[in-house]
């Protein structure tokens, strides 16, 4: 399928295949991207008038965000289960688990849509306060990551995966493992966003 070396087999020097090393390097750059924004959050909070972040934070919907957290955690476990199903050569289960992962991701977006529109209906925008500015920036960037991940997941849930499964089972399992690493990272970011934006 491809002439790119070390896609599946491990490189002797790193002990890893290039696909996995590549996605980890990408995730390292993502840590710095979100890290910069977390740092911005800390400084804005330190510089804000006392109680300002708490006041605006109290306008957020904690039950909705808690539900979204549970959705992402569920999607993470179904993502890893879809990979495990491929390793066990259970293609139907793979499709089912990946389908649930996609549904959880879509449900997350729907909840986020209602959260955002509820704020807009009350006249709350990113320009309303410093807190809302960083809230919409952080969660908006996270939503973009969810959308990007969903596009990849839908691709691997489509008929394309049937074709890949018939042609090269190991390649599909490798692709799902790599995609899963990204998806778990998106979950990981939310695990930190949730308390600092909604609960503190």
């Amino acid at each position: 399928m491809s002439n790119i070396p070390y896609i599946l087999e491990e490189r002797p020097d790193t002990g890893l295949n290039n696909s996995k090393l590549g996605v980890w390097i990408f995730l390292a750059s993502e840590v710095m991207l979100f890290g910069g924004l977390f740092s911005a959050y800390v400084f804005l909070r330190i510089a804000a008038p006392e109680g300002d972040f708490g006041y605006w934070g109290s306008k957020l919907n904690v039950p909705m965000a808690t539900f979204n957290t549970l959705l992402l955690i569920t999607s993470s476990v179904t993502m890893v289960m879809s990979w495990a199903s491929l390793k066990l050569e259970q293609f139907d289960k793979y499709k089912m688990y990946l389908g649930i992962t996609i549904l959880c991701g879509l449900a997350f977006l729907v909840v986020k849509y209602f959260e955002y529109t509820s704020k807009f209906d009350h006249g709350i925008y990113p320009s309303s306060s410093t807190f809302m500015g960083i809230y919409f920036t952080l969660t908006g960037l996270h939503v973009l990551h969810i959308i990007g991940g969903l596009l990849v997941l839908i691709f691997f849930w489509s008929k394309q995966s049937d074709k890949m499964w018939n042609e090269d089972k190991d390649l599909l399992a490798n692709r799902i493992e790599i995609t899963g690493l990204y998806w778990h990272f998106v979950d990981l970011v939310w695990i930190f966003l949730f308390p600092i934006l909604y609960l503190l």
């Binding site: 980890w24 740092s39 549970l70 569920t74 390793k87 778990h184 979950d187 600092i196 503190l200």
Partner: protein
């Protein structure tokens, strides 16, 4: 990830379920703790500690870091150091008294 035999994968599936339950319970704990009457500093450390435990579970088990190669561990350690520099070095500016001199 090391150990991709059928038995190994089936063993891992049980671990994934346990991690999922732990993450769900810790999420409820995070929300419950936020209703406690504690100072901001205490609430901050509790929330970050619980989030760090949850994040570690995702990293170690869902992302298989616990059985991953050294190359990735060192890549992440380097990233963590860079992240901490990004986060904390600017805090030095808090001691900057230029405006008050």
């Amino acid at each position: 990830m090391a150990g991709n035999s059928k038995e190994s994968i089936e063993h891992h599936i049980k671990i994934y379920i346990n991690v999922f339950i732990s993450l769900a319970v810790l999420t409820v704990v995070t929300v419950a703790v936020s209703y406690l009457e504690v100072s901001f500093i205490e609430a901050f450390f509790i929330a970050i500690t619980v989030a760090t435990i949850k994040g570690s579970l995702v990293l170690c088990y869902f992302m298989h870091l616990i059985s991953e190669r050294q190359a990735i561990i060192w890549l992440l350690v380097t990233t963590l150091v860079a992240f901490l520099i990004l986060l904390f070095i600017p805090l030095i500016s808090l001691t900057d008294q230029v405006g008050g001199w």
